[in-house]
Amino acid sequence: MEALDGNAIAGGMLEVFGSEMTDVRARCRFCGDTSYLAELRVYMRAPGAVGRCQRCMNVVLVMTSIRGTARVDASGLEMPG
């Protein structure tokens, strides 16, 4: 399956975080790589979207949409304060 990138889940992230997130840089808790959320490798065909670190490919973010409401678990990322 071909990965997309963080641009593909920008709308859901905007809904959850309340601001534009693709140009936010976050640090992967697994490998320490810092990259833009737009650069996550995103797999859309899982039940929900799965975001992996572009460098180490660990799962750092999961986004689900339940009855039209997006939820994000980004515990694999250190977001800027």
Partner: protein, 233 residues
């Protein structure tokens, strides 16, 4: 929606009248949400094809045969119908005059849509940033915005290169075959020019473009990618 424009046999542009639109930046997209009578919802992202300076918002949609949203937008929706959309979205894959250049834009298929917005913005803003667009399509009839791109390519500082990968007319004077390192070197910028690079299209194309450019010495931090596939744009 106020107007539907045929672009290619599989692609149409939707011209939208949005009284409360807050404006957008070239390269951004919107999410379009469809709701069925039973409440089932499907949502997809579509790049904005119009520039911030244009009076109306334009989305260009490629019909995917097994799609949930695009067949409705391309085949069923009629002028006067309403659409639910969210946006503008995106802050990474955007270009505006203040970001400067030179610019290299590399597109595959309907990945050219955000670049139409960037080219129109470049022209409407009076910018003199040098732009090179390299655009790959399967065949001539699949080239979106062909006439407009040919015209844009005659403007000073803008070069448009088309390549056809599957079939081409006998007298085709453009490039033939897929975008590869050689073609990028031929039509793109030298790393010493420090171009801002954007590539949008199917994942394999975009990743191969990025790999070739990095191998040729371009700075990875100046390369912005937007991948799309059947589940995305």
């Amino acid at each position: 929606m106020v107007e539907l424009v045929d672009e290619t046999p599989r692609t149409k542009s939707l011209v939208l009248d949005l009284p409360d639109w807050q404006g957008h930046r070239a390269g951004q997209h919107v999410d379009v949400r469809l709701t069925a009578e039973d409440g089932y919802q499907a949502e997809r992202s579509y790049s904005i094809a119009s520039s911030p300076e244009d009076a109306q918002l334009v989305l260009t949609v490629e019909r995917l045969d097994d799609g949930e949203v695009s067949p409705y937008l391309v085949d069923v929706l009629r002028p006067g119908d309403e659409l639910e959309l969210r946006g503008p979205i995106g802050g990474y894959f955007v270009w505006e005059e203040s970001l400067g250049g030179p610019l290299l834009l590399v597109a595959g298929g309907s990945g050219v849509v955000p670049f139409r917005a960037m080219l129109r913005h470049r022209l409407a803003s009076g910018s003199d940033v040098a732009v090179r667009l390299l655009y790959s399509s399967r065949s001539l009839d699949q080239v979106i915005y062909r006439k407009e791109l040919e015209e844009a390519g005659t403007a000073e500082g803008i070069e448009v290169d088309l390549t056809l990968t599957r079939e081409w007319p006998e007298d085709w004077k453009g490039h033939r075959g897929r975008i590869d390192a050689q073609l990028l070197e031929q039509v793109g910028w030298s790393p010493a020019d420090r171009p801002q690079i954007y590539s949008c299209g199917p994942t394999p194309l975009v990743e191969s473009v990025a790999d070739s450019l990095v191998a040729a010495g371009h700075d990875q931090r100046r390369i912005r990618l937007e991948r799309f596939g059947p589940t995305g744009t």
